[in-house]
Amino acid sequence: MKPTSRALAAALMAATAISAPLAARTIAVEPGDGAQERLQEALILAEPGDVVELGAGTFALTDGLSLDVDDVIVRGAGMDETVLDFTGQQGAGEGLLVTSDNVLLRDFALENPKGDGVKSKGADNIIYHRIRVTWTNGPDENNGAYGIYPVESTGVLVDGSKVSGASDAGIYVGQSDRITVRNSIVEANVAGIEIENSRNALVENNIATRNTGGILVFDLPNLPVMGGGNVIVRRNLVVANDTANFAPAGNIVASVRRGTGVLVMANENVLVEDNVFENNPTAHVMVIAYTQPFDDETYNPYARNVVIGTNAFGRGGDDPQFDGKDMLLAAFGGSLPPIMWDGISEMTDDPGLRVADGQAGWTLGLTEPGQDFAAARPAPLQAASPAADFDMAGIGAPVELEARLR
């Protein structure tokens, strides 16, 4: 940076530092009697630029909360200090609903929401920073569905957060664009992190453990936002995802096999690289086509241009939740190779899956989406090496969101 522009930047920063506190009000809300009404009223009366500051302690809540004002910060005293307790919740489909843009949520927890934890819908440029959502009784099909749930939004940053016990997905980003999920811990959910019908997502530096499946990337038919892709899953610790599936039947994640590390289904341009996998008993990495019948001309059920780069694969694939697992294990010498492909590709001349040299895999040898497992012809995977560097341009949350966290 040239001296003149540096001086200009410094002046701008100084101006911001002076003006920001003057413009913004801080609305403090403490736990105690009437917390529901007092907190909700603060969220309604907040104006753009305001901070709603949640005191330390437990807020006993009876209904969902909602925020519909742009540019508001909701800040607690810490994800273990400020707890929004929804154990007594009687209404609404989530603990906190955000429907406005440029919102920053940080340093507080939600416990035992009856439906979803925090849902943000059509809420662009939202940041979740050190937000904890916990269902305190552990895995249970009666727990709510999603912990952190941004949907239909452009610009999503989830950082340093923690979700456990979700009966669907801990962190679920759906029908969105420009996403980063990082530095977070997802534990004992059905799915740890789920990127669905979304584009330009970066999932990095997370710990996914004791879920049924660690990190899921997929597309579903018949949704308003279609065509997911451009997803990078890198530098995550995907370890011991061994919890029995406790999702209610009917949900797409109810079909996820216990012990899945990373699952890529019906998505394009996905890179899985530099992750550490250990003790995922079905498969460390699974790449498959959508299996159900569908009626949606805009839907592509195939996995396309999925690249499995170099990852650290430890023990795994030693208790796969498949029919005929004993035969499979015997055939592969006691455990399955870390990468599992269903064998289904959209085009015969392009397998849709490329694997870095030295990364072992196997294929089910299926040929059509939805084909019966009985038709499988398991065999060692012979995949081509990645053809070129993966195009990372435009993937991840917009850089302006980073600046808000500093």
Binding site: Q40, E41, D63, S66, G91, K121, P248, G250, D295
Partner: protein, 335 residues
């Protein structure tokens, strides 16, 4: 432009016919147009607030197919500003001029036992619609603004006591939100009685009879109506304000509007997306011929947060609504 005099005359004759007293005090236009008033009485929508007797500028209406809210009785009114009228827009919403208001009071109990619970206002201002909830006091003399909503014990006509939820200001928008703005949802041309529309045209309060409008079945006459028509109308009125494109539940891909005719969009053989435990172990929103295996029925039949649909304004199941949807699904040929 239609003069207030003509409208007043017509409304006055309507009021005379229904035996209501006439008051000379007009509605407080300033309150409708700006600020937030603490008390419902400040708007002067009523000559007798507790009796819910409307001002001479305020016209009651009813809906063919009402929205269920824990069995509450609802008293509905519209206010149009001086010299302005409604505009017909096909079978969609009647278009309200800036300065108008829609007033809906929720009550439980009959006759002398009737308790007014809340009055919700939709005020059409220069910058759009504003939704405000007012909660009635114990003495039943006035209602005060309840921005954060409330939860209160209410005894229903059947004798059971429920925990009734007065929505907060944001929750109003969850049902009334479309493309990020607040809009009315009830007064669609197809859901208004033909006679009422004609009367409004005659009074100069509606520009013309809505053309090409379907008419939704009248709820009380549902036993004699076509099962599909009844169920579709019920879903249109009770669910489609969220389950439609650009509204609160758009991400579900479920579109329950009357004008939708795609089977999957309506839920038929549609798999759940973000239903979580709301799926109840079922695979499809609607499984033809199998209401007991349909997520839609399961969620309508529940009051458990996280399962219950609708998510808001529901402390009790609407047994008649569930029955109407069941009847429709039962009659579908199994696939």
């Amino acid at each position: 432009m239609i003069g207030r005099g003509v409208f007043c005359l017509a409304v006055a004759s309507f009021i005379a016919a229904t035996g209501l007293a006439r008051s000379p005090a007009p509605v407080n236009d300033d309150a409708v147009m700006e600020g937030t008033r603490r008390a419902l009485s400040e708007y002067n929508f009523f000559t007798d607030l507790a009796g819910q007797q409307p001002n001479f500028e305020v016209t009651p209406y009813r809906l063919n197919m009402p929205l269920y809210s824990d069995g509450a009785e609802k008293l509905r009114f519209v206010f149009l500003p001086d010299g302005k009228s409604l505009a017909a827009d096909g079978e969609g919403l009647l278009q309200f001029p800036v300065g108008s208001a829609i007033i809906k009071t929720f009550a439980f109990g009959e006759g002398a036992d009737r308790r007014l619970i809340e009055t919700r206002l939709l005020l059409h201002r220069a910058d759009g619609w504003l939704a405000l909830p007012y909660k009635w006091n114990e003495e039943q003399t006035d209602a005060t603004l309840a921005l954060a909503g409330a939860r209160l014990e209410v005894e229903r006509p059947g004798g059971d006591t429920i925990s009734y939820r007065v929505p907060n200001k944001n929750q109003c928008k969850e049902c009334h939100g479309l493309n990020g703005a607040v809009v009315p949802i009830g007064p669609k041309a197809r859901n208004m009685a033909h006679g009422w529309l004609a009367q409004m045209v005659e009074a100069g309060a509606l520009d013309r009879m809505p053309e090409g409008a379907d008419t939704l079945p009248v709820w009380e006459d549902r036993a004699d109506a076509d099962a599909e028509q009844v169920a579709r109308a019920y879903l249109d009125v009770n669910c489609a304000h969220c389950h439609r494109p650009a509204a609160t539940a758009s991400n579900s891909g479920l579109d329950l509007r009357w004008e939708q005719d795609g089977a999957i969009a309506l839920g038929i053989l549609k798999r759940p997306v973000a239903a979580g435990r709301g799926s109840g172990g079922h695979e499809f929103s609607i499984l033809p011929g199998e209401p007991d295996r349909s997520i839609m029925v399961h969620r309508m039949d529940s009051v458990e947060p996280g399962v219950a649909m609708p998510e808001l304004g529901k402390s009790t199941v609407d047994p008649d609504g569930v029955a109407a949807v069941r009847r429709w699904i039962e009659g579908m040929p199994a696939s």
